[in-house]
């Protein structure tokens, strides 16, 4: 029973990891830009959700959708106005200057929040806090369950969009060969902006679904972004199902590691696994890419 409880807990946190990692993976897969401000975008999303929850009567999950939309616009504008200009000066396929820019942007975001709001941990008060479903001996936290369901639905929706829709096909084509994609009439810049926007939108959704059970503080992003990088490498760079699988695996290792050893040992195992993947299967579990 304890194992089943741990398994459920692991899946539920793993789903949230997945949705954050999928955003990172999509941006990297299409643009070859590693967005180092991904975690800070999450932190800002949580902060917006926290304040909206405090000052509006809206349901936290309605707020989540609004934050998702806000972050979509943020990602679109950030890419089309700022990053595209840096990118256009880079001839390299994996542009270093964008990496440095997003890393710097992340620092600016987290320190600005620290200056303005202080570094204390704040927990949102929603009507879902602490609510749980009891099934026999099993206890399932309601906000975690909702977060898990939304996360899986979001990842599945993204996957369907990429596989079935006209624009999704254009995004896939661009990620496989961007100059040939433009020769097919696809605007590379627009695909980049849409992909970046979807990536940050997923983070916005994650921020919204986290606030009923995760407190907000200026460096909360790094808790998730470090894991996202590991998940992206584990699942395969640019692979949506890979990020879902990777997120669930990391969730399982964390929870079972904590059960058998301790939470800090669990983190060590996650990083050891990361190193092992880099050494033995650097393309990740589900990547189609061979190199």
């Amino acid at each position: 029973m304890l194992y089943l409880q741990t398994f459920i807990d692991a899946l539920m946190i793993g789903g949230v990891y997945s949705v954050i990692a999928v955003g990172l993976s999509l941006i990297f897969g299409v643009m070859r830009v590693i967005n180092w401000s991904h975690g800070e975008s999450l932190m800002v999303s949580m902060l917006i959700a926290l304040y909206m929850n405090q000052y509006t009567p809206l349901d936290p999950y309605v707020i989540m959708l609004i934050v998702g939309a806000v972050m979509f616009v943020y990602g679109y504008v950030l890419q089309s106005v700022v990053i595209s200009r840096i990118l256009s000066r880079e001839t390299d396929r994996e542009p270093i200057s964008c990496l440095l820019f997003t890393a710097g942007l992340g620092m600016v975001m987290s320190y600005s929040v620290q200056i303005i709001f202080g570094s204390k941990q704040v927990m949102a008060q929603t009507k879902y806090n602490g609510r749980a479903l009891h099934m026999g001996d099993l206890v399932v936290s309601l906000p975690k369950l909702i977060a898990f369901i939304i996360a899986v639905v979001a990842v599945a929706a993204l996957w369907t969009f990429l596989q079935k829709s006209e624009y999704g096909r254009a995004i896939r084509a661009t990620s496989q060969n961007r100059s040939v994609a433009t020769l097919m009439g696809i605007s590379e810049k627009r695909v980049y902006s849409v992909s970046f926007a979807i990536g940050t939108m997923l983070v916005g959704l994650a921020g919204g679904m986290l606030i009923p059970y995760f407190s907000v503080y200026p460096t909360v992003g790094s808790v998730f972004s470090n894991k996202s990088f590991i998940i992206v490498v584990l699942g395969g760079k640019g692979s949506v199902p890979g990020a879902l699988l990777g997120g669930l695996i990391v969730g399982l290792i964390e929870k079972f590691g904590a059960l058998f050893f301790s939470e800090s040992v669990a983190q060590i195992i996650v990083f050891l696994m990361f190193i092992a993947i880099l050494l033995f299967k650097p393309t990740g579990l589900l990547s189609k890419d061979k190199g």
Binding site: R169, R172, Q176, T182, G185, I186, E188, K288
Partner: protein, 234 residues
Amino acid sequence: MLKLNDVHVDYGHFHALQGISFEIKEGEIVALLGSNGAGKTTTINTISGLNKPVSGEIIYKGQVINDMRPNDRVQMGIVQVPEGRKLFPYMTVMDNLLVGSFNKVARPYRKESLEMCFDLFPKLYERRNQFAGTLSGGEQQMVAVSRAIMSHPEIIMFDEPSLGLAPVVVEDVFENIMKLHEMGRTILLVEQNVMLSLEVADRAYVIENGQNVKEGNAKNLLADESIRQAYLGI
């Protein structure tokens, strides 16, 4: 239909095109000949918009298109079948074709373009759900040609379509180029296989070191002693 006026292109300090001029009239097959490094692919990519000329003009249907983005040129009817096929390897054959008709002008013709492709290459219909990367070289060339047809082009530019293909397959490729021509497409053909190119082309231009050196009727060039010596080795 398409005209290049003294086009110069630089790659950094390398002056790749040093004044290329030529013209393709509607319905023609024009071959662009020259040895490795002469600037043939650069010329095609400049017409597609991947390279930007430092001077000179590219005129398409009376309009200077120097500053037009590559994706907008596709919409105007200029498409290329790139060297080495360059399919999207992890997409199915069908998806590769559908990407070809992404642009707004081509999309309404999607269904009939697809029928045209499968008429021309029945084998692709059997392979439609397979990843393009798993196909043989000849089949990949079929997908590349079909992908171009899907974008509802008026002018198709072929960059080394016979590269890396078996001789039997090369003949098929040229047969298909002729078929497309009969369907009313204008064709610019860049090829190392000078003999075959001159057989199918109406006219040809010879370029060397990024400059025009010779032009003329394909039959005359085929008979030209210096061409025979330089490119045919006979």
